[in-house]
């Protein structure tokens, strides 16, 4: 009897033990993958900015522009095209708030040489501007590194060239898969599947070699190993434009899309598998044209949305989409202005898009200059912010204007603080920007302004444009996070 009871007791304990369940697997640590929603902002901590498209040769120079709110010692590293050769490193100090520009041509002249800008404190930001007598291109540098990048606005139609630069500043080798999309849908390029980029180097891919005669091109670049910072460069017989890749977003702000008399287009691609309805709001100095154009874009097919017929320059654009999209602005010489007379502009056909005019009247584009030089492009701004660090450059014979877009429903008061290597760059400007308008701040040339700190009491977006005899460029500002 005693044994039976003991056995029963042991059995009960065993049953209790057996009904215990295994522990839930621990969740994986939540770090390491920096899939930021955009290319990042100026943070109050050390940051490293990647500028993929830097070149200094016999005719081309590139300025690296750094604007900061605090005093910093900046380290600029220019990679050597020869593997295992030590990079060129230079350091310079900026008394904050301040800004500075470094002409990489004064450091070396060896052609392409992507740069790293390491800033030990913040908020601070960097941008690059490539210039020559007849070249002007550039955009902000990139601070965050998504695993999946989107690039829009490419084309390999006759007379137009598109290159992708894959910059791997890290020691690890990177392996990426580039997926191309054109008006034909997904364009398979086996050579770009599992593309290797050695550590601390870069690769430039001429897309025309693989996908010639495509009117519209967009790309996704996925890192399967290591990390890369991609940028796209589009050139034609009028000029050159470059802009970095981005992550997708539902909204995109382009504080300015018009510059130098160029005809602007928005290039978009859906980041998902479904059709996406894209609404284009036009923001001018006078007011907002909501839903000026609404386009339904198919998955895997990049679409160019013409803007020049929606308002007279200058104007900015806000893009809203029903799902995640990637977007960039491309501004090209207007139809009929080409040297070779091949005046068909991309997007004229808009074959795949159904276009609906908004309920607001639109103004036809007005060509001001007879000779239009240049090609401009810019990545969008995923979300507005109340603070912006805007590295800016000025060049002789060119006009530089910083544009502030207030696409919200209320007026905002904005402090615009010029930044440079010296203190007296003029007084702070406080302006009020009405709801649904843009405001342009003309930048004085030659007095040492290399940036602005823009502080608003509401969300705004900031970009700047430069145009003149050298061409035209659009450069996005960097939010102060």
């Amino acid at each position: 009897m005693r044994r039976a009871l003991l056995l029963l007791l042991a059995g009960l304990v065993t049953v209790v033990a057996l009904v215990q369940v295994a522990p839930q697997p621990e969740p994986a640590p939540n770090f390491g993958t920096i899939d930021a929603g955009d290319t990042g902002g100026a943070v109050s901590s050390p940051s490293t900015w990647y500028c993929p498209w830097v070149e200094a040769g016999d005719i081309v120079d590139t300025d690296i522009l750094v604007a900061t709110d605090v005093s910093v010692d900046v380290t600029l590293t220019l990679l050597d095209p020869l593997t295992n050769e030590p990079p060129t490193v230079t350091e310079f100090s900026i008394v904050g708030p301040g800004a500075a520009g470094v002409d990489t041509g004064s450091l070396l002249r060896r052609g392409e040489s992507p740069a790293l800008v390491e800033i030990p404190d913040g908020p601070a930001a960097a941008a690059s501007l490539e210039w020559a007598d007849a070249i002007l291109s550039g955009d902000r540098c990139v601070v965050s590194v998504p695993k999946v990048w989107y690039l829009t606005g490419g084309s390999t139609q006759t007379g137009t060239f598109t290159e992708i630069r894959l910059f791997n500043p890290f020691a690890d080798n990177a392996e990426v898969t580039i997926t191309a999309f054109s008006e034909f849908g997904t364009d398979l390029v086996p050579d770009l599947d599992g593309f290797d980029v050695a550590g601390r180097s870069w690769a430039t891919i001429d897309i025309g070699d693989f996908l010639p005669f495509r009117d519209e091109l967009a790309f996704t670049i996925t890192s399967t190993e290591g990390l890369v910072i991609p940028a796209i460069v589009r050139t034609d017989n009028r000029g050159e434009a470059m802009w970095p890749a981005s992550a997708p977003s539902r909204t995109w702000d382009f504080p300015i899309v018009t510059t130098g008399g160029l005809e602007p287009f928005i290039s978009v691609i859906s980041a998902g598998d479904d059709d996406v309805v894209v609404s284009v709001d036009i923001v001018t100095a006078d007011g907002l044209v909501r839903n000026a154009r609404e386009v339904t874009i198919a998955s895997s097919v990049p679409t160019l949305i013409p803007l020049s017929d929606l308002a007279a320059p200058p104007f900015g654009v806000r893009i809203r989409a029903t799902s995640l999209i990637a977007a960039s602005v491309v501004a090209v010489a207007p139809s009929g202005e080409g040297d070779g007379g091949e005046g068909e502009l991309p997007g004229d056909g808009t074959e795949t898009a159904s276009t609906t005019a908004g309920d607001t009247s639109t103004t036809a584009p007005e060509i001001v200059e007879q000779l239009i030089r240049g090609l401009a492009g810019m990545g969008g701004i995923a979300s507005p912010s109340s603070g912006w660090i805007v590295p800016i450059d000025t060049l002789p014979d060119n006009e530089t204007t910083m544009w502030i877009l207030n696409a919200g429903g209320e007026a905002v008061t904005v402090d615009v603080i010029p930044l440079g290597e010296v203190e007296n760059l003029g007084s702070h400007e406080t302006i009020t920007i009405e709801a649904g308008t843009i405001y342009g701040v003309e930048v004085d040339v030659g007095i040492g302004i290399f940036g602005y700190h823009v502080i608003a009491d509401g969300p705004v977006s900031v970009a700047w444009e430069m145009s003149g005899t050298r061409g035209a460029v659009l450069v996005a500002g960097i939010p102060d996070q």
């Binding site: 033990a17 939540n30 020691a171």
Partner: protein
């Protein structure tokens, strides 16, 4: 050639109170060779009656006798009381001494029945004497040739007086036989020959008095220390130690116990080491020959091994049934008395299961890490020194480290051998302990062996090994002994009682030292046993003994015990043993059948086993109740014990012919379960690592040795899934990481202390890295001496582990980390920063870690930054904390930690108490 000169010889008779002095003196007086005199050495009262005549003098000691004889005498003939030299024995010895120019001439010693007792001795390299004679071998003149030997019998031998004087006589600290061998070896070092003269016959009809075995062993070891060169000692002493241990273990199965002799002989030598050094100096000064001269008269191999082999074979032959006895009945008889066969099987199983430990030591995986290289370092750290885990702390090391250090020290810091000794030894002790424990309930050896094998290697033990809790695994070897000591009735008398108390405290202390939680196991287990045997006074005495043992054992864990938190140990991690379903069914069947089919006592004992197995199982899956992995392992030990008890009961019942009917059928079913569990246990033989998983860190971190000198000055940051990291790990935003020494962390680094300043500083830096706020992780981590970053686990393909991928991505985008392809499975980076060092002077000179301290070139007037948690114990001063690390003066070229004197005193006190307890335990045992 005819001898023309007759050397002067005096005879020394060494009396030993055997009452045969008269006969010996008579035989001496009958010698045909004229003697210069006769001196009897011994106590005056014993020899007064026997000595007669004016030519017999009396002396108290041999030295006095030699002095008494005077320098005119050339030879001394030393004859032992009880020896009866034939009339021409001395003449023959003198003649052969003259012919061979020998310094020492021995006689042929015969028994009264004509059997050979000695024709001189040779030894092996360890000084173990070997006569070369068979037992009862009759003298037929087969050895009648004058030949060189290592030593001669003390029954009668001739020695040159000046040689004996020069040698300082026989070593009075040595036992008889060891002293003879020592005398011969020292004589050879001085260039003298030692021969045996077969023409010199001496009859000795009684066995010579033999000293106690351990004294002979101690003397033999001392003899080695005295005569061998340092080079020979380097291999001979460790090897002798190993052979001694093997002899201890094997002899157990031959029915002999030499364990205490072994310990005492070595302890004696340690105590007498200063005197041995002096004696060695005397023995080797003015030597004309080296070790090679000694080797000439030594046999190959080991006498001990040979004799053990012979004894084993004899035992085997006696155990094997003959053809006519090969019946079920004969087998059953063997099952009842299978001491040797069972022992041989157990040894064979252990040898196979631990074979890879012999060459590789413990695998470096999880909490099982290699023993530290230097035992003295570990003992120093255990006794109040610096705990090297992570960035270090002043927290005491676990007692397991003390054991590891001690074993390392005793084995002269051998590489893998200490781990083999502990691993295989614990396994063997576990099997043997279960056999002894089960014998408490009259369960015989064969069932005990089966139960023991399942106990140390069954599914539950494999679960412990899978958890890589090496301490608990080793503790399996002690647990049944601890229980046996409290369950076994205590004999009457004070000494047996004291001896038992001492043994229990020692056993419990050892149990707790291996695995602290196991110290708490016996109380509930024995209490349950006593409750089941409510009227058994011995069982309740066992409860009291258990309480005393637990308290005493806990005190032996000083100084660690005073800062330890058993609650924290028990709750760290998540206890969940994924029990193999087949094993669960098999164990269940065995337990049920053991309870149902067992007799009155066995059934009750099996019920006890069933209950503790059930409670153990619940403990092993008690993560939901807040218990952790170390608790799981301790609970698994309880499961293993409970199942072993049940297996013993079933196996015993199977061999019981009185059991019939349904009980026999039920027992048969239980036997099937036993077979399944045994088969499951035998699977650990495949790995040959006592069930432990294969190495992980040795292979993963070996690349750090590629660049000479880097491993000694650097650390490795190891990140990834916590179960793939060495020992404990810290967490940051859900990711596990820890810092270890290169090239491979040792056992001292397995358990991390609470995070201190430098640990927090590292956490800050890691936050920078994983937040992406820095792209120069190499520079950020270099200040900690971190040169390499290893992401454990696959990060590619379908095998990719999420934590590994997350960590890889965190470090992938760094500008000053270079990827290494050295490790196939893991992702590895090396920093692009220089210099990187755990200890760096202000001039940027790296100081390597030597043992468990830092040493480098002195830099007078400058400082060295030691990347260990700041602590005032670090020196030399002035010390200050800079960036959460120690800044010390670099004048002396070293950075060390001054031990905590309180902890050190406690550790020494514990050591003294252990020695005293051991002495009491042994003494009481002998008195019993």
């Amino acid at each position: 050639m005819t001898q023309t000169r007759h050397p002067s010889v005096a005879t020394v008779v060494v009396a030993d109170d055997s009452g045969l002095l008269d006969a010996t003196l008579t035989a001496v007086e009958r010698q045909v060779y004229a003697m210069a005199g006769v001196v009897v050495v011994g106590s005056a009262t014993s020899i007064r009656a026997a000595t007669r005549g004016p030519r017999v003098a009396v002396s108290a000691t041999l030295d006095e006798a030699v002095a008494l004889i005077g320098s005119s005498v050339e030879f001394l003939w030393i004859v032992a009381e009880g020896a009866a030299p034939r009339p021409d024995a001395l003449r023959a010895a003198v003649q052969d001494a003259g012919r061979t120019e020998a310094g020492i001439v021995g006689s042929k010693i015969l028994g009264g029945d004509g059997s050979l007792i000695s024709v001189g001795l040779i030894t092996d390299a360890f000084g173990v004497p070997y006569s070369g004679l068979d037992r009862f071998e009759v003298d037929q003149g087969q050895y009648d040739v004058v030949r060189d030997v290592a030593a001669v019998s003390d029954a009668a031998f001739l020695v040159r007086r000046d040689l004996l004087h020069g040698l300082g006589g026989a070593d009075s600290k040595m036992a008889r036989l060891a002293a003879l061998v020592d005398l011969g070896q020292r004589a050879r070092l001085k260039g003298a020959r030692v021969v045996v003269s077969p023409a010199s016959e001496v009859v000795r009809d009684v066995n010579a008095q033999t000293d106690v075995r351990w004294r002979e062993e101690a003397g033999r070891i001392r003899g080695m220390f005295k005569v061998y060169s340092p080079l020979t000692l380097m291999w001979a002493v460790p090897l002798d130690f190993v052979l001694g241990m093997i002899e201890v273990v094997v002899s157990i199965f031959l029915g002999r116990w030499f364990g205490f002799d072994f310990i005492k002989s070595w302890v004696w030598n340690v105590v007498h080491l200063p005197d041995t050094v002096s004696a060695r100096r005397r023995a080797r000064s003015g030597r004309t020959a080296g070790d090679e001269e000694l080797f000439r008269f030594q046999r190959r191999g080991s006498v001990k091994v040979t004799s053990l082999s012979s004894a084993s074979m004899r035992a085997l032959r006696s155990r094997l049934p003959g053809d006519d006895r090969f019946t079920v009945e004969a087998l059953s008889n063997e099952m009842r008395q299978p001491a040797f066969v069972v022992g041989a099987l157990a040894v064979l199983f252990v040898l196979l299961s631990a074979r890879n430990l012999w060459s590789d030591g413990f695998p470096a995986v999880g909490y099982t890490l290699p023993f530290p290289i230097n035992g003295a370092d570990v003992l120093n750290a255990y006794a109040g020194g610096w705990n090297p885990a992570g960035f270090g702390s002043a927290d005491p090391l676990r007692p397991l480290l003390g054991i590891a250090g001690l074993v390392k020290l005793v084995t002269l810091n051998a590489a893998a051998f200490p781990e083999y000794v502990l691993g295989a030894g614990a396994m063997l002790a576990g099997i043997w302990g279960v056999m002894r424990l089960l014998r408490s309930w009259s369960i015989s050896a064969a069932p005990g062996l089966i139960a023991g094998v399942v106990y140390v290697a069954g599914p539950a033990a494999q679960g412990i090994a899978g958890n890589t809790h090496i301490g608990t695994l080793l503790g399996l070897g002690v647990l049944p002994w601890a229980l046996r000591l409290v369950v076994k009735p205590v004999a009457d008398g004070a000494w047996p009682f004291l001896s038992r108390i001492a043994s229990v405290v020692l056993a419990f202390g050892l149990l707790g030292a291996f695995a602290p939680l196991l110290l708490l196991v016996p109380i509930p287990v024995i209490l349950l046993y006593a409750l089941l045997r409510l009227t058994d006074a011995d069982a309740w005495r066992g409860v009291i003994l258990t309480l005393v043992g637990t308290a005493g054992g806990a005190l032996l864990l000083s100084p660690w015990i005073w800062s330890a938190s058993f609650v924290r140990i028990a709750r760290d991690g998540y206890a969940y043993w994924n029990i193999p379903s087949i094993a669960a069914v098999a164990a269940g069947v065995v337990i049920v059948t053991a309870v149902v089919a067992g007799g009155r006592v066995l059934g009750l004992v099996a019920s006890w086993g069933a209950l503790i197995a059930g409670v153990g199982l619940l403990g092993s899956r008690s993560g939901d109740f807040g218990f952790g992995t170390e608790f799981e392992s301790a609970a698994l030990a309880v499961v293993s014990l409970g199942v072993a008890v049940a297996i013993g009961a079933v196996a015993q019942t199977v061999g019981d012919p009185t059991r019939g009917g349904w009980r026999r059928f039920v027992t048969g079913v239980g036997a099937v379960g036993v077979v399944l569990l045994v088969v499951a246990s035998l699977t650990i033989v495949l790995g040959g690592r006592v069930g432990l998983p294969g190495d992980r860190f040795e292979s993963s971190f070996r690349f750090t040795l590629a660049a000479e000198g880097e491993a000694e000055i650097s650390r490795i940051l190891v990140v990834g899934p916590p179960e793939l990291l060495p020992g404990d790990s810290r967490r940051i935003e859900g990711g596990a990481y820890r810092v270890v020494s290169a090239p491979v962390p040792d056992l001292g680094e397995a358990r991390l202390a609470d995070a201190l300043d430098l640990d927090s500083f590292l956490e800050e830096k890691l936050e920078l890295v994983i937040s992406g706020d820095t792209k120069r992780a190499g520079g950020e981590l270099a200040v900690f001496g971190i040169r390499w970053i290893v992401v454990m686990g696959s990060t590619r393909g379908s095998d990719a582990l999420e934590p590994s991928v997350a960590w890889r991505d965190a470090f992938a985008g760094q500008l000053d980390l270079l990827p290494l392809t050295a490790a196939v499975e893991n992702t590895v980076w090396v920093t692009d920063i220089n210099p990187v060092s755990r200890a760096l002077t202000t001039l940027g000179t790296a100081w390597p870690r030597v043992g468990w301290q830092y040493q480098g070139e002195p830099e007078p007037g400058r400082n060295v930054f030691v990347a260990e948690n700041p602590d005032d114990g670090w020196g030399p001063g002035p010390r200050r904390t800079t960036e959460s690390m120690n800044e010390l003066a670099a004048d002396e070229g070293r950075a060390t930690y001054v031990p905590n004197q309180g902890a050190r005193t406690q550790a020494i006190a514990v050591l003294v108490v252990i020695v005293l307890l051991s002495a009491v335990a042994m003494w009481g045992r002998r008195r019993t």
